[in-house]
Every structure is written in structure tokens, then in C-alpha cells.
């Protein structure tokens, strides 16, 4: 079952590698891409794509016991004890050519 958003005609070039793979436990980036409809009558030049985040909590129904944990100091900094729940956020500011 594929993701219909990703199945859209994405320009292969210009898609940053962050979107293809990541540190997510399921082996994929937490960022998703979609391309808004482009009308021939649009007043502004189209942006290549828009992004949104799907954090790892969306793939966990009930957290199992005994998951690997960060060392305490790192956990305090990350905001969570468990690497599997960590969600880094790439600020959109300064991302060239991306919809924001």
C-alpha cells in the first residue's frame, strides 16, 4: 500500500535526500512531500513541493516495555527517553526553493 501523496509526479531532481531516508525506526524520513495542484492560470511561479511532518507517535499504538533509552543527559536534552520517539525538526527558514 503506497502513499498516494508520494506517488504523485514528483520531480526527481531537486528532492533533497532528507526526504528519502532518515533515522526513523521504520527506516523512513519523518517528512512527507506533496505537490499542490498547479493551474495554468496561477499568478505566481509554482513552488516545487510542500512538506509536512509525520512524527513517530503516529506509528505506535501502545508503547512496548523495555525500549532502548538515551543516556539520561541526552534524554533531558532531546525531550524524550526513547530514540524511537525522537522527532527532529528541520526549520523551513532558509530552505531554498521549498514551499513554506
Amino acid at each position: 500500500m503506497g502513499n498516494e501523496f508520494e506517488a504523485q509526479s514528483l520531480p526527481e531532481e531537486g528532492v533533497p535526500p532528507e526526504f528519502r531516508a532518515g533515522c526513523h525506526p521504520a527506516g523512513r524520513s519523518q517528512e512527507r512531500i506533496h505537490v499542490p495542484y498547479r493551474s495554468p492560470c496561477d499568478p505566481c511561479p509554482p513552488l516545487p513541493f510542500k512538506t509536512y511532518v509525520v512524527p513517530p507517535n503516529q506509528f505506535i499504538v501502545f508503547q512496548p516495555p523495555n525500549w532502548p533509552q538515551y543516556p539520561p543527559e541526552q534524554a533531558l536534552r532531546c525531550g524524550t527517553l526513547w530514540p524511537a520517539l525522537h522527532s527532529p525538526y528541520r526549520p523551513r527558514r532558509g530552505r531554498e526553493g521549498e514551499a513554506t
Partner: protein
């Protein structure tokens, strides 16, 4: 009752003078999906929810007050040395005439906080789903706040708060699972 620890949950550092960002941060202070709304929503829902998840609402509601303190510290640091002219230039002129540089529970557009932002429906599933939605909306708000500043120290504190929303959302979803499983009902087959 509560026991107060006189320190922040996570250190708040602000390294850029930017009163404009203080105005934007107010969205998480007195906004519909802000920390005040979250804390009051959870702590109030506790009384009419099944025993198994009362403790969760207490814990998360309490932590939201710790987050509220962090946001307050950020806003305070960004405004404490600003002149009335600087506040006006940052869009905080209307705030200044009503409050000087005191903090107040309003959102980024200056709309004062209202209890109409929160709900206690008395139905455990409905209430928990509202809580899950509130956490995801707060996560998104933190993302857009991070996008609005280039101060890496401020971004660091906001990223911590964003991660906590993700953890809270999962805990509320687990609470729904606990209630779905009818763990207290004795089944006879």
C-alpha cells in the same frame, strides 16, 4: 496539591533581541492550543474520567504548567529591556497600552484567552481525542514558531517543547487503548 521546584523544566536561552518574536510566542502562552489551555483542559477533565487515566491527566497537566513557565520566561526575556517604541515597532503597542511589559494571557493576535478554547464533554473517548488533537496542534504551532526565528538558542528550547507534545500525544492515545480494552470488566465466556 503540588510541590514546586524553583527551576525550569528545560533551560531557556534567548540570544537575539527580538521583541517581535515575543508577540508570536504569545500564541503558546494564551492561545487556543497554548500551554495554559492545555494545562487547564487536562487538570479539569481529571474528575470525570475513569480512574485508570486520572494520573496521566494529572502528570501531563502539571507538565504543561512547566512549559507555560518556559514560554513566559522566553517572552519576558524578549521584552524586559524593550522601550515602548521598540514594543510598538514589534506590533506590541496595543499590548503596551493595556499591560506595560507585563505578561498577559492572549494569543499572538492579542485576543485574550477564553475558557471557550477548552472542553470537558464528560465522555472519556471524546475528551481524550480532544487532548490528542490539542497536542498535535501545539506540535504544529511549535514548528511554525521555530520557522519564525533564526535564534538557535530559542529554537533549541522550542524543539524540546515540540518533542514533549509528541510524547504526550502518544500517552493520550495509549489512554484510549486502555479504555477500549475494558480492562476492569470481567468477561465470562
Amino acid at each position: 496539591m503540588w510541590v514546586y521546584e524553583k527551576k525550569l523544566q528545560y533551560p531557556v536561552r534567548v540570544s537575539k533581541c527580538d521583541p517581535r518574536m515575543a508577540k508570536l510566542l504569545l500564541e503558546q502562552y494564551g492561545g487556543a492550543d497554548g500551554e495554559l489551555a492545555a494545562a487547564l483542559r487536562y487538570l479539569n477533565q481529571r474528575y470525570s474520567i475513569p480512574d485508570k487515566v486520572i494520573g496521566l491527566l494529572t502528570d501531563i497537566g502539571t507538565e504543561e504548567f512547566a512549559h507555560l513557565e518556559m514560554i513566559a520566561t522566553m517572552v519576558y526575556k524578549l521584552t524586559k529591556d524593550a522601550t515602548p517604541q521598540q514594543l510598538d515597532a514589534a506590533g506590541l503597542g496595543p499590548h503596551y497600552v493595556a499591560h506595560d511589559s507585563a505578561l498577559f494571557y492572549s494569543n499572538a493576535a492579542g485576543v485574550p484567552w477564553t475558557a471557550a478554547y477548552i472542553q470537558a464533554k464528560g465522555d472519556p473517548i471524546a475528551d481524550l481525542y480532544e487532548d490528542i488533537a490539542a497536542e498535535e496542534k501545539a506540535r504544529a504551532t511549535y514548528q511554525w514558531l521555530i520557522d519564525m526565528t533564526d535564534d538557535v538558542d530559542l529554537q533549541d528550547g522550542l524543539k524540546f517543547l515540540r518533542e514533549r507534545e509528541i510524547v504526550h500525544s502518544l500517552r493520550f492515545r495509549e489512554a484510549v487503548e486502555i479504555l477500549k480494552e475494558e480492562r476492569e470488566v470481567r468477561k465470562v465466556f
